[in-house]
């Protein structure tokens, strides 16, 4: 059985693309066959986050307009067996694709893939409608900020209006120190407002910036706590129950820091 999941948020810049890339890699590392689609036509970015930008020849619009075969446009990620990227067109606009064309495309991809992840563009217009068109379920990404949560709430309504099941939430850029100090909304605050199931909490961490610089999603890094957070999100997507959140130690001990620096210690995080 294969499933299409749209990753959306309403607000831009909360980490949809990073989430799509890391979840895609993590699912593939779990042995699944995964296609990630960049639905942000005109402003493609998923290729860059995955570090596959040099390998693009054809894109989503070429496939839809019949200029190439679907197989020709899918870029295989050599680092993660089973992972393929379908890049967005960079020089077209959102109206180059219709929701029906997306549904047809996803139906075709389902013949070959276990999971199809759609990276939705920001906003609520045509791009959003295209991205949700073929989806079976939705993941909403938000950050613990008023503006992001407000937009997430709006998007939850739109996902439900599109007759998808209740979406699940990823809280991104979580800063444990600020939460402890009472300067950032905590998990319960956010869940109370949005009232949808939580899929995971991802800490705000420098590793994300370095991984974006290098075009190498952080889940590849076994010692990274953010990587571990995404691996746990993937396990939950795969249906595993009671996967604990990673612990957000604000100040790890000196020895642990040293081991991590040596690359000898596993990522922190047990029960939480």
């Amino acid at each position: 059985m294969s499933e299409c999941i749209v990753v959306t948020s309403g607000k831009g810049g909360v980490g949809k693309t990073t989430t799509t890339a890391n979840l895609g890699v993590a699912l593939a590392l779990n042995g699944k066959k995964v296609a990630v689609i960049d639905a942000d036509i005109g402003l493609r970015n998923l290729d860059v986050i995955l570090g596959l930008e040099n390998r693009i020849v054809y894109d989503l619009v070429h496939v839809i307009e019949g200029e190439c075969k679907l197989r020709q446009a899918l870029i295989r990620d050599k680092r993660a067996e089973g992972l393929f990227l379908l890049p967005a067109a960079q020089t077209r606009d959102k109206n180059a694709v219709t929701p029906q064309q997306m549904r047809d495309l996803i139906a075709k991809l389902k013949e070959d893939f276990d999971y199809i992840l759609v990276d939705c563009p920001a906003g609520i217009e045509q791009g959003f409608k295209n991205a949700v068109a073929g989806a079976d379920r939705a993941i909403i990404v938000t950050t613990p900020e008023v503006s992001a949560i407000r937009d997430a709430d709006r998007i939850i309504g739109m996902v439900e209006a599109a007759e998808l099941p209740e979406p699940e939430l990823i809280i991104n850029r979580f800063r444990a120190k600020m939460v402890e100090a009472g300067d950032m909304m905590n998990k319960d605050d956010i869940l109370e407002i949005l009232a949808i199931p939580l899929l995971g909490i991802v800490p705000d961490h420098e590793d994300i910036i370095v991984s974006a610089n290098r075009g190498r999603p952080v889940v590849f890094d076994e010692t990274s706590i953010v990587g571990e957070a995404y691996r746990r999100v993937a396990r939950r997507v795969l249906g595993e129950k009671d996967v604990p959140e990673v612990v957000f130690e604000t100040e790890p001990g000196a020895w642990k820091t040293f081991l991590r620096w040596m690359g000898l210690a596993p990522a922190r995080g047990m029960a939480g």
Partner: protein, 92 residues
């Protein structure tokens, strides 16, 4: 192990910010001409096929095709080492 030794000596890989900048420059050029690296590669292959009909190309490793950003324009700069002109009948 090599990684570990390099880390001790402070010889980590290239800074990630330099890598970011390099990738970005490349991307911007390709965005400007609306040619992906993959398409550029395809063009390079086709151009070389044409060139090889007239001259003997030294070796494919030595050829270079790149896009460079100048003042308000992008230039395709190519270097193709030629061994000699092919003296065969031109089929046309």
């Amino acid at each position: 192990m090599k990684d570990l030794i390099n880390r001790f000596l402070g010889r980590t890989n290239k800074n990630s910010k330099d890598e970011a900048k390099q990738r970005l420059k490349f991307l911007l050029i390709h965005d400007q001409v609306d040619l992906t690296p993959g398409q550029l590669e395809a063009m390079k292959t086709e151009i070389l096929e044409v060139i090889a009909r007239y001259v003997e190309v030294e070796d494919l490793e030595g050829t270079e095709f790149k896009l460079e950003r100048g003042d308000g324009h992008v230039a395709l700069v190519s270097t193709v080492p030629v061994r000699r002109v092919v003296q065969r009948a031109q089929a046309s």
